[in-house]
Symmetry: D2
Subunit: 345 residues, 4 copies
């Protein structure tokens, strides 16, 4: 059994990790930390876990964490980077669900996250945990930076096009939409049901932290610096991301082979599903599941490729992908604990 620690367990990614790990046959959760809720049984905060865990939230204890095989960080940014060196030194492996190790460029990180990075050497060593791109590096990694939710949906949708060099990489557009759980579990007025319910809006349209993360990943895939416009939107639902992606084909004749390009690119991927050309993936088709489902579209004789890509922001966009990374890191079946179908309706 893999001994697991979870740092920062009171948020939505924390409870989602527990939901998944509750039925994972090869792990044992040794501790889950929360400074603010220390002493509270996990099942009191999350009654869906009643009967699954006797865990009590605890103040982070370096000794306990150092005794784990793997620690998940489900913390706000800036927390993991301070605790990482000690855990690394102790030989603990880490999957960081926060943004601390996602960006390789330290200035960009500092600009978007409002503080200088404190452990730049570990930034260099961390592996960006998108298994569809970096499975082998993840297998060897001690520190995995789990991708953001939007970046997962957007990158998986654009990757085949950029890797094949078929589109104008200077003018990519990603119009993305997310349920409210993506904003986390903090008492912000703007995220009240009274504010979010029965309404729709763009946000962060002048710039969002996930933009540099997306650009970094897509630029690597394209082999050059891409130009991308990314606008996130808030949907009055709890879970789910849909990203509609727009890219111009360099050669309109390539439309013929796009579907097979995508199918081939993802044929061995357990968690990417390319639907038939012209399908419309629904977020509910991946609710609670570690899936990215996508489909291609073309309008009339346009040279614009349209990709619609959906994930559950808390699963393939966070906790599920983190467990997938853990499975890879520990040589387990990559789908272990992640094989239940989505909850539809």
């Amino acid at each position: 059994m893999i001994k697991i620690g979870i740092v920062g367990g009171t948020g939505y990614t924390g409870v989602e990790l527990l939901r998944i790990l509750a039925v994972h046959p090869e792990v044992e959760v040794k501790c889950i930390t929360s400074r603010s809720e220390a002493g509270m049984p996990v099942a009191d905060m999350y009654p869906n876990l009643r009967g699954y865990f006797d865990l009590v939230f605890s103040v982070p204890d370096p000794t306990v964490l150092a005794g784990c095989d793997l620690v998940f960080f489900a913390t706000p940014h800036g927390v993991a980077m301070r605790m990482i060196p000690e855990l690394m030194a102790a030989g603990v492996r880490v999957v960081d669900l926060s943004a601390d190790y996602r960006l390789k460029d330290l200035d960009t990180w500092a600009q978007w996250y409002g503080m200088p990075h404190e452990t730049p050497d570990w930034v260099a060593k961390a592996v960006y945990g998108l298994p569809e791109v970096a499975r082998e590096e993840i297998r060897q990694a001690q520190l995995v930076a789990n991708p953001g939710c939007y970046p997962t949906a957007v990158q998986l949708g654009f990757l085949p096009l950029l890797e094949a060099g078929l589109v104008d990489s200077a003018r990519l557009i990603a119009d993305a939409k997310s349920g409210a759980s993506g904003a986390g579990r903090q008492g912000k007025i703007g995220m009240l049901h009274g504010e979010v319910g029965e309404s729709f809006k763009a946000y962060g349209a002048s710039g969002h932290r996930h933009l540099p993360e997306i650009r970094q990943g897509l630029s690597a895939a394209a082999g050059r610096e891409v130009g991308i416009t990314f606008v996130p939107h808030l949907v009055p639902m709890v879970r789910g991301i849909e990203a509609t992606l727009y890219a111009e084909l360099n050669d309109v004749a390539d439309f013929e082979r796009l579907q097979s390009l995508f199918e081939t690119r993802y044929q061995d991927e357990p968690f990417v599903d390319v639907m038939p050309f012209g399908s419309h993936p629904e977020t509910r088709s991946v609710r609670g599941a570690n899936q990215c489902r996508m489909a291609l579209h073309r309008q009339e004789q346009s040279n614009m490729v349209i990709v619609s890509s959906v994930i559950d922001n808390l699963v393939k966009g966070a906790a599920g992908q983190a467990v997938q990374n853990m499975n890879i890191m520990f040589g387990l079946d990559e789908a272990m604990g992640l094989n239940a179908p989505a909850l539809l309706p």
Copy 2:
């Protein structure tokens, strides 16, 4: 492997059966029928099942069904009762998720379902499949009438009070609320998102089909004919039922022992969770899970017992309970395939 047939698979209980059976280790789904969608792959209608089943909806074929070990009926009322005799004769076991065999009184059935019953002998032999009441009979049954969604939430909440004879059984009140999936997957204007969304209402307040079913079960528990008022309501959500139950204690002193009465009644039940006194169960705490979660309340020095009981109408209120019954009937672990935590948030 238990060979499974599903009759009437295009509705919400049909897809929910498949979702659960997809990861059940001891079953093999041999056929799923739909006259209207015959020929369509199941995964085309329900993309959450892509990769799990190669099944195609088929016209019901008596020979194929007769070759199954167990057939689930997820049909509108009036369908199962016509197909049951042949299946019974063939030695097939059946869990009927429709209402055809729930009511023992044939006149009452005819009154509420608008047609005479065609196989009254099988009404007499059918076992009402509420495991918390009739586990042993279910084990032996060839034909199990799976309870309705409201009746499950209401009966489980009232049972300990009535079995112990502590309340005035002549004036029970059940105020119940359900998400929209309870109305099924038919193109009714009243169930459009444009009608249901961002609104709330009572319906069936002058009488609902589940009232006689509830009364039958509670009367058996009480050992006398109970008087009950039952008002269902439509909640702008997809899944979940909450029932708030009201009963007057005969002896106000009994309030002291109610919590332990409930805990004792359900201590060995894998799928009933009695929360601490004064808790407020949320429907999301059972979303996708085969659980009934409940809690007790008292206001000031009143002698009114208040029970709040929640289930997922498609799981413990339909497909999950059906699989629980199947597990019991075939001597499997009762929780097999039903042990994942609820999806919260």
Copy 3:
């Protein structure tokens, strides 16, 4: 033009007052106060008001308020009671939308609101502003205590039964359901969309502040102390309250005349609509409108009267009723500014 002040304008009842007053032909809003948002233009916080008001939130200024004809308090409890004496002395009339003057019993108020009342003399003089009960007193009042949202829906539904003495007033039950805006606009985790969305639950089932307010009103109507159980629930929608009320008829023969009793009781009321017997009022049928819509039900031969009563919690349950009270106090047409139909769908 009536000069209006609004104290505490940043919450949902504040913006709702402005929405209604924006098109009221006989008022002029002179000031709207908020200590926390002082200096912010109202239309920056509430863009639906862009073009309607040039108002800026200001720190409460006693001189400015004393220059108003009417001041609305849309504050948390405990604020109005400290500012009332000065305004009363200045001859200003007040409609207090908070709970400060709703309960006549000072001990009960102190118990539920957690502080002693500071101006008990004004408690005695305040008029409880339910126009359907106290129109003439409201006309003369200097200080009107605007009813709570649940108490409005519940009292209007029970009143005809209690005034006529037809039901057992010792065992009334009110099972009420509210949208999330009823909890106000404060950053509470429990009211996040991620917590409230796609879920349903009871809350305050062991006791809620509106219970004594309801009991006070119903006891006055019945001419004796009533016994009532009140359980509120949280619906995943923004606006709307539905209350399902249960009362036992003393004489079952009275069922014949209930519909006409209700219709007669409310025939001259501009804002109470008795639907045909057996109807199911929807909250959306009163969305944004100052209406209470209700209907009666009976199940089989039961002696239980069922009333379903709906309001918009922010309108007839708060700001609309406050404007209705203002219209009465100033001798205007009672429906002035309140005559637009509800927003359906």
Copy 4:
């Protein structure tokens, strides 16, 4: 008083017309037709209108319609085009909310609406009723083709850019999102709450009827044939459209003057509100109101202009704009009956 007829009144645009006309001081609704619901009182179907109208749905009667001053068509496509010639001959003026007279190109119309047009001469004479573009023509028109919901939000957002010739008109992108009421009030399974609730998806991504309508309007504004990609999405809410628009500036220096360009373009428009640069319009800020609210964005040093534009699809996207057109046609104050603020929250 203007005598009004409404043909096809049972849908959402029909009830919305009635809601608005109920408090319009210069109209009298003489008839509202529905073949399927003939004989039903309007207020029985739409209880929000109880007390406002005594109207009963009636079979369309040419004589009655010919006696009206203005007839609104709120019918499926193909109905208005057959009744128009007779009404035109009778001198009746018409605002057609259906798509019958929106497209000038008859082949395009036939392709998208699946039938040949039967009255092409009236297609030529009809005025496309976007007041911000064609106010004077509307004033004189006998037949106004009321714009579609998406085309209203998209055209208003792009117009200033195209009229000024500042952007690359060959590669416009409109990513639009709509609430479920946009699909009308018909019993389609795909529009059930159980299907739409708590989910999000693109639809019509390979082509949608509103695409040629949008292209026609934008091409006229640009003075050349534009190239546009348009992808609609379904949001789990009832009302509201948000369109996020992307266009590349020809000269990046023009970013400096975009805000004033938009403000100037719409400064005299009563129903278009340009918010400060960088704002995020919410659909709820226009709920129930005849408003289009928009804001501009830029990401880093990109030359991509981003416009977010919101309307209520049933108001500025349908019935409200129809009444605005009527006001213009009859020389009334353009805002008559349309001046209430949006319902927020």
